[in-house]
Subunit: 281 residues, 2 copies
């Protein structure tokens, strides 16, 4: 069994730790956090066996290092830990944008330490180890980017053991798909909330009128802003492309409504319902 170092024990890192320990998949789980209270919380939740504030110390005895910090902090982190990794240590991550990370992390690691970019398609609008769950990855797609075959195969088995479904996909293709199915919904939800309060209606009145529609449509607008800033910035072109599609899709509704085109409006709503029913099965 490997010694696993999880750098960043928030929602995702904490959930990996819980799953590893609950399923007996690691000899030892070492957690690295920036703050003492996070280490303590992760210990109390049973997500890690031991914790440290020093990433270099945390990874020194690991067979597998999982980088679970916000996207833009991962490359400097890779740089910092590089010289403390044993040859043969596999490094992976869980960042939402893979082209940027595959490029920026690989070149900072020593030759004997392969990097395999990863991305579990699971999450929550709630951050932090308090929201971590051992079953967070149950049945979830977990993308692994192509690279050296042996570490890729080991990680694929590891992901399977965590209850997720590993699929191998080029970083660029991954980034385009998640821009549409994940990054766009986050931007749309945030813009929706900003638009709702921009109309000048009193917030107490708006609150009175909230039903399930607003609640679920806006849920992920409560996600940590720093994470989503980084994700957008490191998947800029694909996110801008999906925002263009979204602008066009909205214009279709707006134009039909402006022209009082009942058939056009119905078709736009019907297309959406049909596409969603096909996607969510």
């Amino acid at each position: 069994l490997p010694v696993v170092a999880i750098v960043g024990v928030g929602l995702i890192g904490g959930s990996i730790g819980l799953a590893l320990r609950e399923r007996g998949l690691a000899r030892r789980v070492i957690g690295v956090a920036r703050r003492e209270e996070t280490v303590r919380a992760a210990m109390e939740r049973g997500a890690i066996d031991e914790g440290t504030l020093d990433a270099r110390e945390g990874v020194a005895s690991a067979d597998l290092v999982v980088l679970c910090t916000p996207v833009l902090t991962i490359p400097p982190l890779a740089e910092r830990i590089a010289e403390r990794l044993w040859p043969g240590t596999i490094v992976t991550d869980v960042g939402s944008t893979k082209e940027y990370l595959s490029r920026e992390v690989s070149r900072r690691l020593p030759p004997g330490c392969p990097f395999v970019g990863g991305h579990p398609m699971a999450g929550s609008e709630k951050g932090g180890v308090e929201a971590a769950r051992a079953d967070l990855f149950e049945g979830a797609t977990w993308v692994l980017c192509p690279g050296e075959l042996d570490p890729l195969a080991r990680l694929a088995s590891w992901v399977l053991a965590l209850g997720a479904r590993p699929i191998c996909m080029e970083a660029e293709a991954h980034d385009r798909v998640v821009a549409a199915i994940s990054h766009l919904p986050h931007v749309a939800a945030a813009a929706l909330v900003n638009a709702v309060v921009a109309g000048g209606e009193e917030r107490d009145v708006l609150r009175t009128f909230i039903a399930g529609g607003f609640t679920s449509t806006s849920r992920i607008a409560s996600s940590p802003p720093e994470l989503w800033r980084d994700i957008c910035l490191t998947n800029r072109e694909s996110v801008l492309a999906t925002l263009g599609h979204f602008r066009a899709a909205l214009a279709r509704f707006e134009e039909a409504l402006r022209r009082e085109d009942a058939a056009g409006l119905l078709a736009a709503f019907a297309d959406a319902r049909e596409a969603r029913e096909e996607l969510i099965r």
Copy 2:
């Protein structure tokens, strides 16, 4: 106890029937539907005591008539039933746009039959009596539009008895608030789904990547398209105004991302999180 006629026994009408019967609030609940199988389903669910396909017959013995059909069908329905209403029968509805309905329904009813527009802030993306629930209105805001005091007071007690919280609000103000908090999210969710599939990614691949974010953000895009066409058309100006705010809110994200303005992007996400946390308490 009143005899209540519910015209349109779908999600809302069916839920009213279930709540009335479960709480013993009606002498008899008469359901009116367009199709025989809907009457049968509503009987089987226990949402009505008896059913008919003839609206004129259905309302003839009612003390309270609740119109629960799609918005644009309500005025012609009012016209059709008008001459069969007893003087003193109170008529209400559950339509999502109140200015249009208050105007169009009132003038079609006979003098002795007061109309009080209503709108329960509860629903589901699933339509039909199959999705009806006796507790759908539990704790939900239920708007009643101002009008004659006696019928308004009776309806307010009736709404309270159903477990909801009646509030009295002018139709125009209601329409502006629901445009922002309910109608805009429906259009946004539908446009989001259309944008996601517009990018040309294969649907099987997109499906593999679906996590909680897309699922909840797009949930109400599965709502019945006819309902939402009618709602948009009858609340056109307010919905167009909120779409303008939404366009501006999206442009803020898009511009910040285009300029790689990390601080601007963070602020836009942070504003959304803060506003949502304040609204959802």
